[in-house]
């Protein structure tokens, strides 16, 4: 059996998105800045896609800025809010310990440039307390940036409450919604979100394309300077085929949202139930306040990479923590933030589902994972110590 269960890493493009994109590559090759018919045709297609994306988010079309992906959108939103804040003497930024590196590294860089950054803790459930946000806001706070849904443990943050607090305190609020959009309902206006980042390839759209939504009136600085594209705020010839592909995928995802959420979360719950049978295992992140497709487990006494490789041999494609950090030796900063000790954090498994997965696949995973965990524990000196009682079980 072949099972792709790494949909938080990236998704397979939907046929609808591939078709839209291929059609566009063949038929709409113009540069929308060009005056001639081919260019103006491209401008029309671009405008249509912008309107579609805006509608899917509950935004106006002129609040949509196309970027090269979630990372760029995060970088631009945060840097822009920081620099604008600095102009008014506000140099304090608030975020959490469980953000994506696109956010954390941008904040780290700003810190080196003289900004002060408060990274809020999250609870053992992987959720930030809005009261903590409220307490952290100061006179000189320029930005609160808190992710909509975590990419590793899938926890949904209390965005509505946080956004309301920010609105009351008149602090700009940005949310990295890369993992959320297309998977849970998002409405930027209704939810009082000032800025939001998303990325096409997380909801069966193309890679290399994303969106930064910026509420009217919220100032935006360029990350990329040059031509006057995107109302002068993001230079570079517009990637129309990808924009069109993303818009198609987003439209599809939003249209099927309720149905998919029900279907996927049922599989998620069954998978959680099944894996919980493994002794000394635990689910990471709140069991209910999480993305419909996210299952994240720790298995004591084993290491994640070897688990992944053996699962791959069985046709199960999963991940351990964030894919982006696979070049790193450190365990996930998210798992550490929810209080797991290093040695347990090393033994994590992330299975992220989409509507293409089937209940049969879930049963197959439930059958295979315990066997592999058992094999790895059997050859693990750490497990030996735990079993012999030389070390105490943590989970």
């Amino acid at each position: 059996m072949y099972i792709y269960a790494d949909n938080a890493g990236t998704t397979k493009m939907s046929p609808v998105a591939i078709d839209a994109m291929t059609k566009c590559m063949n038929e709409v090759f113009g540069n929308p800045s060009s005056l001639h018919s081919t260019g103006q045709r491209a401008a029309e297609v671009l405008q249509k896609a912008r309107e579609d994306v805006a509608e899917a988010l509950g935004a106006d079309f002129n609040e949509i800025y196309f970027t090269s992906g979630g990372s760029e959108a995060d970088n631009q939103a945060i840097r822009s809010a920081a620099l604008f804040g600095a102009k008014k003497g506000k140099k304090h930024l608030i975020s959490t310990k469980i953000e994506h590196h696109a956010v954390l590294h941008t904040l780290k860089k700003l810190e080196r440039e003289g900004f002060e950054v408060t990274l809020l803790d999250v609870g053992a459930d992987g959720i930030v307390d809005p009261a903590d946000v409220e307490k952290a806001i100061r006179e000189d706070t320029a930005l609160v940036t808190i992710m909509y849904a975590n990419n590793e443990i899938g926890t949904l943050q209390p965005i509505d409450e946080i956004a309301k607090i920010c609105k009351e305190k008149k602090v700009t609020f940005h949310t990295d919604a890369v993992q959320a959009v297309g998977h849970v309902p998002v409405n930027v206006h209704a939810q009082n979100i000032d800025m939001l980042s998303l990325s096409g390839h997380k909801f069966h759209g193309p890679k290399g394309i994303g969106v930064l939504y910026v509420r009217k009136g919220v100032p935006l600085f360029n990350l990329i300077e040059g031509g006057a594209q995107e109302r002068g705020r993001r230079a570079g010839t517009e990637n129309i085929p990808a924009i069109v592909g993303m818009a198609a995928a987003l439209k599809e995802a939003v249209a099927n949202l309720d149905e998919n959420m029900a279907k996927i979360s049922a599989m998620r719950d069954r998978l959680i139930e099944g894996l919980s049978q493994v002794e000394h295992s635990r689910l990471n992140g709140d069991a209910k306040k999480r993305l419909p497709g996210n299952v994240n487990f720790c298995f004591e006494g084993i290491e994640g990479e070897s688990l992944l490789l053996l699962l791959d041999e069985k046709g199960i494609e999963a991940s351990s923590g964030s894919a982006c950090t696979s070049g790193s030796l450190d365990p996930s900063h998210v798992l550490l933030a929810i209080g797991l000790p290093h040695e347990v954090a090393h033994g994590s498994l992330r299975l992220t589902l989409c509507e293409e997965n089937t209940p049969e696949q879930i049963e197959y995973i439930i059958k295979e994972v315990p066997e592999i965990v058992s094999y790895l524990r059997n050859i693990s000196p750490v497990w030996e110590e735990l079993e012999k009682g030389e070390k105490k079980h943590v989970i």
């Binding site: 006494g301 290491e303 994640g304 990479e305 070897s306 030796l329 290093h342 050859i379 000196p381 030996e384």
Partner: protein, 141 residues
Amino acid sequence: MLYSEKVMDHFRNPRNLGKMDDADGIGEVGNAKCGDIMKMYIKVKDGIIEDVKFNTFGCGSAIASSSMATEMIKGKSIDDALELSNKAVVEALDGLPTHKIHCSVLAEEAVKAAVKDYYDKNGIEYDKEKFAPDDCPTCGE
């Protein structure tokens, strides 16, 4: 591919995997915090490593490195085993990704630690300098 075919082969079918009840020397290196622990068991007769077993908590390359190391010292003299370098392990595995080189270092040290334990248990004198301290080469703990 992240790993060479050789690495994958040793990861999938580790040689000399297991524990040994009557080991003459046992070495354990690394620590769980940084994600890799290797435990190596040797059986020695007339200065020859007659048998070797290992258990590993760690990534694919850690398991493959231990497996390869055991294969490289099995049937060799202790002196030869002490000559085993992490570089030799990496070469025998047809290379490791840069950020996984530390696994081969761990394998080299596991062998040394097992021999040291054998020396200690049998009251054999040895040059302490030659043996790395018992901490993890990666995180230094």
